[in-house]
């Protein structure tokens, strides 16, 4: 039974959390309201929590000329996210299993190789050459997720879950004649489920939010993802509006600037915002379980 002091403290904490939640929510409300405001009033009076001069013009502008492209980009994003997450989880957990397998002599070397890439990277140019000249990932669907198939941090996270599974379980399975594939798929994966969900969510977010891979490896418009479309649009609008191009073009254009940004933000955030509340507990639980048991 909480006494009076506790109650006050709890009320205080709730207040703090409430205020913090409001602070976090404010930018989203501003984005939604900005996307529904008229550009001229937005420019003149700035943002507000309620739309200034309510209009759907920005959404009409975006969907008017680009409905088909936006839908296709959504599809590509979904495919990349699903396919990418499944493959990435498979590769990551397999690697995590290998470096935790007790009987494997080179597991430390493997772990070191992975760890090494956390500290040093080859740089953009060698990466680009490797992806385009050797793996030929340019302009392919695989190019949108293969380079991100293993995130070393998440691999270590998963390895920690695996380490928390008592070795006796594995030993008894081995005694009953199970091989590594069976142990991995039938024992490790089901027992490391919480970790699996956590890294899946991280991967899914990463694939959904990524615009770097399409920027670097894709020139075929059919393979644009929704985030890349947003990046592309914003990059062009900002570049042209900044006037830095005056030297080369000297052309004046007036795109819907702020409101377009906000509308595109809403469109890209929407799926995550809808799914997140249902999946959020896995994020928290996953990380805590890993940290305590690991």
């Amino acid at each position: 039974m909480p006494n009076q002091e506790n109650r006050t403290l709890i009320a205080f904490f709730y207040l703090c959390i409430g205020v913090f939640a409001l602070i976090c929510l404010a930018p989203f409300v501003l984005a939604v309201s900005g996307s529904l405001s008229t550009e001229s009033r937005l420019a003149a009076e700035g943002y507000s929590f309620l739309p200034r001069g309510f209009t759907l013009e920005t959404y009409t502008f975006m969907f008017g000329s680009k409905a088909e492209q936006i839908l296709r980009a959504y599809m590509t994003s979904v495919i990349v996210t699903v396919l990418g997450t499944v493959c990435a989880v498979l590769v990551t957990t397999a690697f995590a299993y290998v470096i935790t397998a007790k009987g494997f002599r080179f597991r430390n070397s493997f772990a070191f190789l992975a760890y090494f890439t956390m500290l040093f990277s080859g740089g953009t140019l060698p990466w680009y050459i490797l992806c385009t000249k050797y793996y030929h990932l340019d302009d392919t669907l695989a190019g949108l997720f293969v380079p991100y198939l293993m995130n070393v941090f998440l691999m270590y996270l998963q390895a920690n879950y695996f380490k928390s599974i008592p070795h006796e379980v594995i030993e008894s399975a081995q005694m009953d004649g199970a091989g590594h594939f069976r142990i991995f798929f039938r024992i490790m994966l089901p027992l490391g489920q919480v970790g699996l969900v956590t890294i899946s969510l991280f991967y899914a977010l990463q694939f959904w939010n990524d615009f770097y891979l399409p920027l670097m490896l894709v020139s075929d418009e059919k393979l644009y993802t929704i985030q890349y479309m947003m990046y592309y649009m914003m990059a062009n609008i900002q570049y042209l509006a900044s006037g830095t191009n005056a030297q080369i073009s000297g052309v004046t254009i007036a795109p819907p600037l702020e409101s377009a940004k906000m509308a595109m933000t809403c469109l890209t955030v929407l799926p995550i915002a809808v799914l997140y509340p249902f999946l959020q507990r896995y994020f928290v639980r996953g990380i805590i379980v890993g940290s305590v048991k690991g």
Binding site: F104, R105, Y135, A142, V146, H180, L215, N236, V251
Partner: protein, 510 residues
Amino acid sequence: MVKTRVWLGSALSAMLLLSACSNNNGGSAGEQTAPEETAANGSNESAPEGLKPAKLKIVLYGEESNRMKELSKAEFNDIIKKEINAEVEFQFLPWTEYGGGKTDLMLSTGEDFATYTDTNYMVKSVAKGLYADLTPYMDGAAAADTKNTVDEASFKAFQLGGKQYAVPVGNKPNSAEFYSVLARQDLLEEVGMSAITSLAELEQFYDKVHEKHPDLVGYAATDARRLLMYEYTDKNLYWLNDFLAVDEAAKDDQIISWFESEEFKAYAEIMRGWYSKGIIPKYAATNSPQLQSDWNSGKAMFWAGTAARPFEGAAAITQAVPTAKLTNYFLSKDLPNISRGTYSTAWFVSANAADPERYVMFFNLLQKNQELYDLFAYGLKDTDYTIDENGRLTRNTTDELIPDWLLMNKNFMRFDKSVPDDFIAQYKSWDDGAIISKAAGFNFDNTPVKNEETKMNGVFSEFLAPIASGFLDYESNFPKALEKLKTAGLDKYIAEYQKQFSEWYKANQP
């Protein structure tokens, strides 16, 4: 046993991964198809004799319109094939990748492509050996038409050490860029004035309009050193960058340190007056992008002008103010216009391109004749555009093809019905009597003073730009700003610039 299996597993999964990646490379495999294969597909019956089939990749920045996608696969492709026996692939990149980013990566990895550049980007890239030397193709048939329709000075601007590294596009009157006042003629007439010929009249224009429409901004920018030049000096100044200028009226190679000059002081004082008076709005100090937005939405009285701005910018403003009209005025002008060559954009070819000459032939095609210019800039006659009996253009689609600002050639370009005849005449003769800047074609190599330049740019935006725009008072703020600039290395920078410029001037002036 266990070890073997784990090793086997790892090896298998690695192979699986690699094969998954390489199975799907339809696009890039296509790129590497032997040229002979395309020759065999029958569509090059009318291809010019003696030219082997070639594949070219042209990178453009911005968004590819739907119409561009259609035309590039059909009509553009056919005509290019017919004329130069090449297949062209257009690749579009976001504007942020211009002059760096992915463009740099593509250059560094030796991809075979061509795109456009400006002189700054050219100097940097040529130093790294990333551009192909196009000199051998300049005097032959490959560039023959471009040579006729594009001004010679524009070619010079893209030469380094006597070699041609890029081929200028377009031929656009661009002398006296930003030296004129682009005024809202409709407002001018509304307050009973007809023209602006001096600073006094410009300020009178502001006062009268401000009285009637107090919500309008006066000048929609923060830099007016060029358009006000005729007021504060007798020199004919041409700025090399933010710090340095030359006097085009003097026949010497003397570089002027702009901020240390008396002219800067006089200019800063006019600007201070404008700021205090409200001609430049108060918010300009913290939110300068808003100025352009205000101009575009018809909420400003005047701007810095260029030859083309009266019609290029009109479209945006007339959306907000249908009666808006724009006119260029020079203040007390009795000096010749300065030109840096007709255009500042040029095509370059990557150093690893298999057939640079064919790229040059493609650039030439874009400026070859009226018919081809119309096709690449406007599309198909009667489908994408119509031309009335007066030669005026009406476009049936807003989709952009090869960007018209990129092609813009005063010999070929068409105007729509809203542009008055006298404006077209003025536009075409804009460069008449203009002088080519004595610095045109000089490209400064900043390597020896790179650090100084970076520091100076920092001092410029923090301390000098606010004085130059009138946000801060010259008398009380300038000494400190100059001291900072000197500490950053202004003197060393000027000395280096003067040295390189004098050497170049000696070698290039007749």
